[in-house]
């Protein structure tokens, strides 16, 4: 196409999320055939690009919310209930207020209020130093009338158990249910049936940066907030509500984020408290949670226990699944998608949420899916072995999803399945045995509308791309810059990226693998608009006809012969340069992704210790933006999956009702020595037209693949996570009186 046609626009309906609520709005967009084009036409998009902010991060120059220290800033802290359930009979803040260095104390609950978990917020304060703040918390005198509580879901199910929420509300509430076909006849005619009970443990997000904000009322009455958040616009909306100010008087900033994993969408109690304390003291207040607050109160991934009966017919096809299960998300909810990826014809599944006196669950990287994958893929694996069928062949036969069909093949080849699969698990010489396992994922991963991106070109040749999204550490800045550089055909260094501020154009919260498919299309549209606006301005300035102008690498070609270098062309722009906006359009994003992982593990048959030696991860992601950060996302998912499989569990004591491991000492996230060899394969296919997100899919199948590999190595089926030596030794029959 020579030259540029004048832009036609059209109105489209789009859904935007404001304060967690979806709204349908009409937006005006460029009416062009949006396409990512052919890979060979893109210089940057889809290549391997180092992270734009990588240098800042490794040198410590990148400033996270935790690093924000303002003149006159106070340090906030939150008093939490030590009791799993209690009525507050009295609360006195006088002594705390009187401590030197304490500037403000705020009751979050009054006498008469009931706390429902250890960690429930009772009061907050701001003081000159973090140490004074901690001392002051202990000077707040709260009298509690302890009430009966229950923190173990198996005990909470007892009708006689203490009621968690209120006396009217039973602890057990029916949850997700699926019924199709008839399971009875399927089991009668089955060639093999497996029955087992599986358990996925409670986890916490354990982001290295805890939840929190720095809230600063400005002299002009506006409010600036530095926020460790997955959604700057969402927090701005919430802060507008909290402060009673219009949203344009609020500025929420999140330059860098130390991890969210689904738990950092809102302002939270800490945001509200920081805001009130800053308003009252007239000073900035930093309110970051400590590790205990993080583990008790800031969210968790619910447990899932499932009794599964599963059958296959003589052709090796899944015939029926009957399952009954429950889980607890503390005072929040629980439930998993089941029977997960398999289109089983006869299904009867009933789940329940069991309330316990623990902090509320919230979204954690692929909510419900890693649990579902472990429960279902373990049962499927057991069934394949019982049938005498290779568990990989069994999956290929029973999982019709086309992308995964290709991914099973690629992964089997890479892991060396044919060579490494043990036909007789648990046999071998020496105490250390190896084995392989496989499991699969499914996720939406498509984008949502509403993102508004601005691209500005200045007379000095610089280009700025601006969008109110936030980078959770995934590499958003890097691909945004690449999209604009490709479209304008300028060296990538010319483009500067501005994100992480609610003053920039709207973008939704970063969750559910939606960020890239929400952001990238808007950036692409803005860049296309910018290109047109730029050439239009240049045409006006030079008098050269617009329809004979074309952007080429390094500049503009006019009339097929006359060249303007990029910098010369920009000098011809009007004083203010050009400013262009683009909005998200469908067609550049797509959902419906798969993903398959293979694990190779080594089991020490004497100590029960499992080491993950290698993970082969084959994932599809539609059109790839940046191979390097995409692989990094997959690596991160695998690492979290290894923690789920082998080391992590949030443990609460039934007698005290308290979390016993609210720290990174006993809540064991994997470290460098737990890292396997990673082999990431990105499955690219020509039919892909849109970009998908890659946050959830890679965390889903890791634990199931590891558990299946543990069986293939040792012959011990560990049906509960995490697979620690205690459980492996029990499964091997080496512990007196214990079962796996």
């Amino acid at each position: 196409m020579a030259g540029v046609a004048p832009p036609k626009t059209k109105k489209v309906k789009s859904t935007i999320t404001v304060n967690g609520e979806e709204k349908e709005v009409e937006i005006e967009v460029l009416d062009v055939e949006a396409s990512w084009g052919k890979p060979e036409d893109r210089k940057y998009v889809g290549s391997r690009m180092t992270r734009l902010d990588g240098y800042d991060k490794v040198t410590g120059r990148a400033k996270y919310t935790y690093d924000i220290n303002l003149p006159g800033m106070l340090n906030g802290a939150i008093l939490r209930s030590p009791h799993a359930k209690a009525r507050i009979t009295a609360i006195n803040i006088d002594a705390a207020k009187a401590l030197p260095g304490v500037k403000s104390v705020l009751k979050l609950k009054d006498a008469g209020a009931i706390v429902r978990y250890a960690g429930d917020e009772v009061a907050a304060l701001a003081a000159e130093t973090p140490e004074i703040a901690e001392d002051a918390l202990r000077a707040i005198k709260v009298t509690y009338e302890p009430l009966p509580f229950v923190v173990k879901e198996e005990l909470a199910r007892d009708p006689e158990a203490p009621r968690v929420i209120s006396s009217e509300r039973p602890n057990v509430e029916p949850g997700r249910a699926t019924t199709r076909g008839e399971v009875g006849p399927a089991f009668e005619k089955a060639a093999a049936v497996i029955e087992g009970e599986y358990y996925a443990q409670a986890r916490v997000h354990a982001a290295l940066e805890t939840h929190g904000h720095v809230v600063a009322y400005q002299p002009d009455g506006s409010v600036k907030v530095w926020s460790s958040t997955q959604g700057v616009h969402g927090v701005a909306d919430e802060m507008a509500n909290i402060t009673g100010l219009p949203k344009d008087r609020i500025e929420v900033v999140c330059e860098h984020m130390g991890g969210g994993f689904g738990a950092k969408f809102g302002a939270g109690v800490e945001g509200r408290a920081a805001s009130l304390l800053s308003k009252e003291t007239g000073r900035p207040v930093k309110m970051m949670l400590d590790r205990r607050g993080e583990a008790e109160s800031a969210g968790n991934s619910p447990t899932a226990k499932m009794k599964v009966k599963i059958a296959a017919d003589a052709d090796g096809k899944l015939a029926g699944v009957e399952a009954e299960g429950y889980g607890t998300g503390g005072i929040g909810s629980a439930g998993v998608p089941f029977p997960y990826i398999y289109p089983v014809p006869n299904v009867k599944v009933q789940q329940a949420t069991v309330r316990t006196n623990l902090g509320p669950s919230n979204a954690m990287r692929a909510p419900g899916h890693p649990q579902a994958s472990f429960l279902m893929e373990s049962a499927v694996d057991e069934l394949a072995y019982k049938l005498g069928v290779d568990p990989l062949e069994f999956r290929v036969k029973n999982d019709p999803f086309p992308l995964r069909q290709a991914e099973y093949k690629i992964g089997a080849e890479r892991i060396g399945w044919a060579r490494k699969f043990n036909k007789t698990p648990g046999r071998g010489s020496g105490p250390k045995l190896t084995g392989v396992g496989v499991a699969a994922a499914t996720w939406g991963g498509g984008g949502g509308g509403g993102s508004l991106c601005d691209v500005k070109i200045a007379q000095d040749g610089s280009v700025v791309v601006e969008l109110g999204t936030q980078d959770l550490g995934t590499g958003t800045r890097t691909y945004m810059r690449a999209i604009v550089a490709d479209e304008l055909m300028v060296p990538i260094e010319k483009v500067r990226v501005k994100i992480g501020n609610s003053r920039y154009g709207f973008s939704g919260g970063s969750g559910g693998s939606t960020t890239t498919p929400s952001v990238a299309p808007a950036v692409k549209m803005a860049a296309m608009q910018a290109k047109f606006d730029f050439l239009t301005a240049l045409s006006k300035s030079t008098g050269e006809p617009l329809d004979k102008m074309e952007i080429k690498p390094g500049g503009v070609v006019s009339n097929g012969t006359k060249n303007h270098s990029w910098d010369e062309a920009c000098k011809r722009l009007p004083a203010g340069g050009t400013s262009s906006r683009g909005a998200w359009v469908p067609g550049l994003a797509q959902g419906g992704i798969g993903g398959v992982q293979f694990a190779e593990v080594e089991v020490d048959m004497e100590t029960g210790r499992v080491r993950c030696k290698r993970i082969v991860a084959v994932h599809d992601c539609g059109v790839v933006m940046n191979k390097m950060t995409l692989e990094s996302q997959i690596n991160g998912g695998i690492i979290q999956g290894i923690g789920f499989a082998l080391t992590e569990e949030r443990i609460a004591d039934r007698h005290t009702g308290r979390v016993v491991n609210p720290n990174l000492e006993e809540y064991k996230i994997p470290g460098p020595w737990e890292m396997p060899e990673f082999e990431v394969v990105i499955y690219e296919y020509p039919e892909a037209k849109g970009v998908s997100g890659m946050a959830e899919s890679p965390v889903i199948p890791t634990a199931a693949a590891i558990a299946n590999a543990v069986y293939n190595a040792s012959g011990a089926r560990v049906r509960s996570l995490p697979i620690v030596p205690a459980r492996v030794l029990a499964a091997l029959g080496k512990v007196k009186g214990a079962t796996a």
């Binding site: 210790r609 080391t647 308290r658």
Partner: protein, 326 residues
């Protein structure tokens, strides 16, 4: 954190004086890797910290003519780990340190502080759980979350001693030199530690005004070998589920002439398995002798409801340690 007075001292005598006699009112600060965490968690709230690191000559690694070793209290774990001669002579100690904590902590933590550290029991470490060790009236581990607790020597409290170097040093027959007030005493390390049944509030015999000044390891005899094996849930920084320190001397024909076996991670103090030692003396370290000794070492184990796995685990760990000295 409760405000405290920070006092720098230049001598052991000053340190002792500044520690005073009121228990836990003043605490000795060396590497601080344990104490500061306890203070931040409000487990201890001293009014005074006595900074010990300025005391001269306590950071030395010294050998005597016969090959005995004297470690100053302030020698860091990292320095012991890096010392080639220690590794050659007393392998069990650096092997234990290799598996202790993480590089950052080993760079700061001192050998004496490591021996005097407090337990990691998650009930003890919870500000709001008033357990026996803090003057309360019960051990919450008994009916609680006790997967990491003691299977040997427990009761009424079931902590495990967290140190890796401690079992290694007991296996080496080390002593500690303790100074305080107007006296100095040398105590076999084995007798330094106390069980909860002897004193539930503390893990060793140190009086309030006493400090460890040195750790002394006797020279090794010809035919001496030592080794440390530890099992944990993860390799990047974790406490022992079970560990074994073994030191044995054999004669020319391979028979054990003397041997010390000490288990870690399973008891409130480094757990000397004297019966197992006896079973090995006079015999070669054959596979059957090793298995028999390991079985004897764990014969007295009394697991709680979640830690029975430690019995087979510690048995295997000890077998592996014994095989390393063959």
């Amino acid at each position: 954190m409760k405000s405290f007075e920070y006092v720098r001292v230049k001598s052991v005598a000053d340190a002792s004086r500044m520690l005073g006699s009121e228990r836990d009112e003043a605490k000795l600060l060396a590497g601080g890797t344990d104490l500061l965490g306890e203070m931040k968690d409000y487990i201890v709230t001293p009014s005074r910290l006595v900074a010990f690191r300025g005391v001269p000559n306590l950071d030395k690694i010294e050998w005597d003519d016969k090959g005995g070793l004297r470690l100053g209290a302030l020698v860091t774990l990292a320095r012991i780990q890096e010392d080639k001669r220690i590794r050659e002579k007393f392998a069990v100690l650096p092997e234990a340190i290799d598996l202790a904590a993480m590089p950052q902590i080993r760079n700061a933590a001192t050998i004496a502080g490591n021996l005097a550290q407090r337990p990691r029991c998650w009930y003890y470490r919870d500000e709001h759980t008033h357990c026996l060790k803090k003057g309360g009236d019960k051990c919450y581990a008994v009916n609680g979350e006790n997967q990491y607790h003691a299977i040997l020597g427990g009761g009424p409290c079931f902590i495990v001693h967290p140190s890796d170097p401690a079992p290694a040093l007991v296996a080496l027959g080390a002593s500690v030199v303790i100074a305080g007030g107007d006296r100095s005493r040398t105590v076999p390390l084995e007798e330094f530690f106390v069980l909860p049944s002897q004193n539930v509030r503390r893990e060793n015999i140190l009086e309030q005004n006493e400090v460890i000044t040195h750790v002394v390891i006797p020279a090794a005899t010809p035919g001496f070998r030592s080794a440390y094996v530890k099992e944990r849930e993860k390799d990047s920084y974790d406490w022992a589920l079970a560990a074994a320190a073994v030191a044995a001397t054999r004669d020319g024909s391979g028979n054990v002439t003397s041997c010390r076996i000490v288990l870690g991670g399973v008891a409130p103090k480094p757990w000397r398995a004297a019966e197992a030692e006896k079973a090995l003396v006079g015999k070669p370290l054959s596979e059957s002798a090793i298995k028999e000794a390991a079985k004897i070492a764990l014969a007295g184990a009394v697991p709680l409801d979640q830690n029975a796995y430690k019995v087979p685990l510690a048995t295997v760990v000890l077998e592996r340690a014994l095989r390393k000295v063959v």
